[in-house]
């Protein structure tokens, strides 16, 4: 007896890698913008936020995937939100226990991980349909992709805005920091420029493949 009737796609490295670049949650899918813009005024905040989101994403993906057969379709969104909110509360307390300063710097944005569309999106689109191992890999990939994007923004904004990276001064004393980069508008500009870069790279790759239409969706 063969198990043709129960085809489960095998675990593949692609589950992990796709989130990092090709389906990067921020630059390609444009999801979860609020924390991306709000907490990226320094590298360390960006890193902490990215790791907290990854943590929630991996755990909620795991639990959703474990329970996917026990949850009826009609109440799935409600249960997903419950699960996500619990893990976010857990992260909130863990960060408070680790470092009060970090908790103050991130402020309410830790709690706001709950409404990050990325997490609910992955639970709904991936974890509720796939095995635990694949869901964990997917969560890890997406989470690290998200962290990478946050670091791209946080790095640029901290380097230009305060002339330092992770608190280490990079420029000679005469450097006049671009304060605007630390302000909210700096967040919008930086993200806009990164998206532009990604659009450009994608358009060029499409052209190289001979599919001449490099149009942005």
């Amino acid at each position: 007896m063969t198990s043709v009737d129960r085809v489960q796609p095998a675990v593949s490295a692609d589950d992990f890698i796709k989130g990092l670049w090709r389906e990067n949650p921020v630059f390609v899918q444009v999801l979860g913008m609020c924390p991306v813009l709000a907490v990226t005024n320094s590298g360390i905040n960006a890193l902490a936020m990215g790791l907290a989101t990854t943590f929630v994403l991996v755990l909620s993906n795991t639990l959703v995937s474990l329970l996917r057969r026990a949850i009826p379709r009609q109440v799935r969104i409600a249960t997903f939100i419950l699960i996500i909110a619990s893990f976010v509360t857990v992260v909130d307390y863990l960060i408070q226990a680790l470092s009060l300063e970090l908790h103050r710097a991130l402020g309410a944005f830790i709690s706001l991980i709950v409404v990050n569309c990325l997490i609910l999106g992955r639970a709904e689109a991936f974890a509720s349909k796939n095995t635990v191992l694949r869901s964990i890999l997917d969560g890890l990939g997406m989470g690290l992709g998200f962290t990478f994007a946050l670091l791209c923004l946080g790095g640029v904004r901290e380097i230009l805005g305060s002339g330092a990276l992770f608190g280490i001064a990079l420029f000679p004393a005469g450097f006049q920091p671009w304060i605007v980069m630390l302000l909210p508008s700096g967040g919008f500009f930086t993200l806009g420029l990164w998206l532009l870069l990604f659009n450009y790279l994608r358009a060029r790759r499409l052209e190289e493949r001979g599919e001449a239409q490099g149009v942005v969706p």
Partner: protein, 234 residues
């Protein structure tokens, strides 16, 4: 999955898994949250106490121990206990010899961007403010946030005169903000050019908070005297 006898009522059969899923997940999540809360609570309280401790020692030079006091409805101070209103609390700092170094008082007001919270130290013997620290502010980086870093501005708070008037219920000279470089009297605060609103917000906090607290504290100074040298924590 269902027992044969249970499927008589189709509505009930359909709703049972929903109840089971929601209640089950709810219980699981509740358990998770409560256990993490209980596990992390000691560390969180320790962090908060340490942060407050550090801030109090910053604004009260020479202080090495701290006790929090709360102003009771009857108008005197007693040692703060769990659940007291933080808005009615002040923190007394003591030197290594057990002498009262001063009282740290918290104040808040609207700044340029958002609420500014500060802590300042009052030395009752000399009747001056001996230190000030910004606890929380979202002022513009590079301009308004100089209230935290600017050495010239901070120098205002090394001996800011808050002497009581003869009647004992108000200050002889209320704290006031003046333009940068025009400070002439010890009860004036030299503003920061380019951060006028932020620096006068800080002066405003001191003005209101000192008028409210200092007469009471000065009058009830004896409440803060240490009964005996207890240990440093708490």
């Amino acid at each position: 999955m269902q027992a044969p006898g249970q499927t008589d009522n189709p509505l009930r059969a359909a709703s049972w898994p929903m109840y089971r899923a929601l209640v089950g997940v709810g219980m699981l999540c509740g358990l998770l949250i409560v256990s993490v809360y209980v596990l992390t609570l000691p560390a969180i309280t320790r962090n908060e106490t340490r942060a407050l401790q550090q801030a109090v020692f910053q604004v009260l030079p020479g202080a090495v121990a701290r006790t929090s006091f709360v102003l009771t409805a009857a108008g005197h101070f007693r040692e703060a206990a769990e659940g007291d209103d933080p808005a009615r609390m002040v923190h007394a700092g003591y030197t290594a010899e057990g002498q009262l170094a001063g009282i740290a008082i918290e104040g808040r007001a609207m700044g340029y961007q958002d609420v500014i919270r500060i802590l300042y130290g009052y030395a009752p013997q000399q009747q001056v403010v001996v230190g000030m620290q910004v606890l929380a502010s979202k002022e513009t980086p590079g301009l308004g946030d100089r209230i935290e870093k600017d050495a010239g501005f901070r120098a205002n708070f090394t001996a800011l005169d808050v002497t009581l008037a003869a009647d004992g219920v108000s200050l002889e000279h209320p704290v006031e903000a003046v333009k940068n470089g025009t400070r002439t009297a010890p009860w004036q605060i030299d503003g920061i050019t380019g951060a006028t609103i932020s620096s006068s917000a800080v002066a405003g906090i001191l003005n209101r908070s000192s008028a409210q607290w200092i007469p009471v504290i000065h009058q009830r100074q004896a409440d803060f005297m240490r009964p005996e040298a207890t240990d440093d924590q708490r």
